[in-house]
Amino acid sequence: MNKSELIEALAQEINIPHREASAITTTIIETMTEALARGESIEIRGFGSFIIKKYNSYEGRNPKTGKKILVKPKKLPFFKVGKDLREKVNANKK
């Protein structure tokens, strides 16, 4: 499923024009992106949470050439699936 299919599903479910569902979807994703960009975490009960992990710089290797390189400090977002979704995902496949 991609963004436009998600928009379509939302439009049908709550019975609003496609254009509005599109603005809503974009705004939700934007709000989440902005929070992460500020280094904040996101916590959505039942769905999951996002946290930003900060990595210090470290000495790594180029996997292809084996050459040592200094990896600069970086931040990466991590998603942890929520309890409800995790349990349902597992119950599903039995």
Binding site: M1, N2, K3, L6, A9, L10, E13, I14, A23, I24, T25, T27, I28, I29, T31, M32, T33, A35, L36, A37, R38, G39, E40, S41, I42, E43, I44, R45, G46, F47, G48, F50, I51, I52, K53, K54, Y55, N56, Y58, K74, K75, L76, P77, F78, F79, V81, L85, R86, K88, V89, N90, N92, K93
Partner: protein, 103 residues
């Protein structure tokens, strides 16, 4: 500091803040925004429960992945147990999101 990273946990965005932002930016009432956000998240959940991947451009991709069974230990009793094969949802951030976070 362990593993070379630190977790940041000061501000936290929840359903409520997402609904507020929606209300402020698009002008719908707070109460309808709460319902809209729920419905949006529900759609995502149902999609993932159906085993389908969700790809959101500029944000990232959510996939349902199989985790192989492995041997674990009960940390309290030290007993060895087999952790069964199970599913989990994983998220891969898009290049754009990673760039924005590191700006």
């Amino acid at each position: 500091m362990n593993d070379g990273y630190t977790n940041t946990k000061h501000n936290n965005l929840t359903r409520r803040e997402i609904a507020e932002s929606l209300s402020n930016r698009l002008g719908y009432s707070q109460s309808s925004c709460a319902l809209i956000v729920d419905s949006f998240l529900d759609n995502m959940k149902q999609t993932l429960l159906g085993g389908e991947t969700i790809k959101l451009v500029h944000f990232g991709t959510f996939t349902v992945r199989d985790k192989a069974p492995r041997k674990g230990r009960n940390p309290r009793t030290g007993e060895t147990i087999t952790i069964k094969k199970r599913q989990t949802v994983s998220f891969r951030p898009s290049k754009k999101l990673r760039e924005l976070i590191n700006k």
